[in-house]
């Protein structure tokens, strides 16, 4: 989604400034001065005063360092101390989202309000129709008592002047699973057990209160230490700049990544796995198989009691990470994608064949973060000599298609068709594509198991697929068009 606004700009600027400080070797010395530097000059005050703005900037930097930005309790502790902890190998939090309570507006509980357009009419349908007696006349205008109002909306619908409006609480409005809770004072709290990390609250909140706990500084630290840092790039992240994907790969190499790998190549293998599992599942009498590449969906499936329909395939990210670690156990693997939930998925270690566990992914950068980091390094994607993608994974058009809705289902069906070439009989099944986990689609998702007949279900939390993720640089529509070019890219 296109999200041109001041918060987006501010966040990208902060990431860029942190990157510059790190490149110049001044991160620890100068990070505490950043809130002052940024608010000097022609800064337009946002809150009540510049001091408040600086306190907010400090909290935003704290979340970019990977810490929760919930309170102000440690206001005395310099950012330098936090940054040092990160550079010294602090284990990142498992849950990658926090609410910056200081920034939360504590949006009002009562969502229906009477505006100045109220004419104080004779009919007073708002008052007559209210089932809770919440509407009374104060002076010549209607008034809704927030304590009595149950948000049924009858008053709004009955007013001939459209004088009653619904004031939404943006985060609650978009949360598909009811994970936003409110404190007494109205500030939001995320119920981590319910949250599926779709990131909708983050993009919906005009106060920028929900913030990610970023890995930016951890990645900069690994690069600074001269580690063998491998970038694993999601197909959706390959199409965030309006230039060929090969140029983006070259830009990442210039930035300092020792290797850049198309995660779409691992997606090809995941589609194979899913196809094989579908055949087996249907043989065993399991009639529904759901894709498991979207981590938000994986989280949601648990709460909706659908976990057992998920394919056991690892996600393309995890598989690419395992392959990178097997090639070089000392590698520092960084997944780059437009997704918030991948950061949660990346925190888990996995068992590998032959015993033992590994941590396939060491850090996750969002497309937005990567863009801001390239900006800090003054790397022009357009001017790079395009790398030959055949040397970075050589993924098929099907693997690259994982970035859009229907893409995964198509890849699985394609993989099945090639299995049919082995002379095996194909089971008959129908496919269902769920494009976006929203309040509207959740009820059907909770009933997947009840479906009659054989079913392959593809679920993506974001409408249209990963190209419409919460941490993109480019509008989903543009990125989808760019994806077609990426899918068609032939070896140079």
């Amino acid at each position: 989604m296109a999200r041109e606004n001041n918060l987006v700009r501010l966040k990208r600027r902060l990431i860029s400034e942190l990157t510059s400080l790190s490149f110049e070797g001044r991160l620890l010395d100068d990070i505490d001065a950043l809130p002052y530097e940024i608010t000097s000059g022609d800064w337009e005050t946002i809150q009540c005063c510049i001091h408040h703005d600086r306190a907010h900037l400090r909290l935003r930097l704290l979340s970019l360092l990977g810490f929760p930005a919930e309170g102000l309790s440690d206001a005395e502790r310099p950012l330098k101390a936090y940054a040092r902890e990160v550079l010294e190998g602090r284990k990142p939090d498992d849950f990658p989202l926090s609410i910056m309570t200081e920034a939360c507006n504590g949006c009002v509980k009562s969502r229906y309000v009477v505006t100045d357009a109220c004419q104080g009419c004779v009919a007073r349908p708002c008052k007559v129709n209210c089932p809770k007696g919440a509407v009374s006349m104060v002076g010549e205008k209607a008034h809704i008592d927030p304590e009595l109002c149950v948000n049924c909306g009858l008053c709004e619908r009955s007013c001939a002047f459209h004088a009653i409006i619904k004031v939404p609480v943006p985060c609650e409005e978009v949360c598909p699973v009811g994970a936003i809770q409110k404190r007494e004072d109205g500030t939001a709290v995320i119920d981590e057990s319910k949250c599926i990390l779709c990131g909708r609250c983050m993009t919906a909140c005009p106060f920028g209160a929900p913030v990610e706990k970023s890995d930016v500084v951890r990645v900069l630290g690994a690069l600074g230490e001269g580690r063998h840092v491998v970038a694993l790039v999601a197909p959706a992240a390959m199409v965030q700049f309006p230039f060929p994907a090969g140029k983006f790969v070259a830009a990442l190499q210039r930035f300092g990544f020792a290797e850049v790998v198309e995660v779409a190549a691992a997606a090809d293998r995941v589609a194979e796995h899913d196809a094989g599992e579908l055949v087996e599942a249907l043989k065993e009498g399991r009639t529904t198989l759901a894709t498991s590449c979207c981590p938000s969906w994986v989280r949601a499936s648990e709460g909706l009691g659908q976990k057992d329909v998920l394919s056991s395939a690892p996600s393309p990210m995890i598989l690419a990470g395992i392959e990178a670690k097997q090639a070089d156990p000392e590698a520092f693997t960084v997944f780059i994608g437009p997704c918030l939930a991948k950061r949660w998925e990346a925190r888990r270690s996995v068992e590998i064949e032959g015993g033992g566990t590994i941590q396939p992914i060491d850090a996750v950068l969002t497309s937005e973060e990567m863009g801001a980091m390239l900006m800090a390094a003054s790397i022009q994607v357009s001017e790079e000599q395009a790398e030959d993608l055949a040397r970075h994974g050589n993924a098929s058009a099907f693997g690259r298609g994982f970035a859009v809705s229907e893409g995964v289902a198509k890849a699985v069906v394609h993989a099945l068709a090639s299995k049919a070439g082995d002379g095996r009989a194909l089971p008959s099944f129908s496919t269902k594509v769920v494009s976006g986990i929203t309040k509207e689609t959740v009820p059907a998702l909770a009933k997947l198991k009840e479906h009659e007949g054989n079913l392959l279900v593809e679920v993506m939390a974001c409408e249209g697929g990963c190209v419409n993720g919460p941490c993109v640089l480019t509008a989903g529509k543009t990125a989808s068009a760019l994806l077609e070019r990426y899918k068609a890219a032939k070896p140079a």
Partner: protein, 115 residues
């Protein structure tokens, strides 16, 4: 017929700071003004290198430079430029309310206007 030339910088800083959304504005401009507006993307115009990365994205409408350009300020600037082209060439005299575009000194066009 006078045409208005819109040059949208697609250098990394401009693209990341909002230029991605401006590309979407191109369709709006073409639909609204047809052949009277010529839009082109450009490699880095160099304005961000003046320590003004946070003033990106930069867009040029004829010779006028817009900083922190938005779809809104771009449309407004194009409208003004079209009005000027149709008028008597006194466009430069009236540049009040240039939208959200904010002026910064650029390497190519000397002094830009203040929005």
């Amino acid at each position: 017929m006078n045409q208005v030339h819109v040059t949208i910088c697609t250098g990394t800083a401009c693209y990341v700071m909002g230029g991605a959304d401006l590309l979407g504005a191109v369709d709006i401009l073409l639909e609204k003004y047809g052949g009277r507006v010529v839009c082109e993307g450009s490699t880095c115009l160099g304005y961000c290198k003046l320590g003004k990365q946070h003033k990106a994205p930069f867009v040029k409408v004829n010779d006028r430079l817009l900083a922190q350009a938005t779809v809104e300020s771009l449309e407004k600037a194009v409208e003004e430029a079209l009005g000027a082209a149709a008028g008597d060439g006194q466009a430069d005299a009236d540049r009040s309310g240039a939208g959200k575009g904010e002026g910064v000194p650029g390497p190519a066009c000397g002094e830009a206007d203040n929005g």
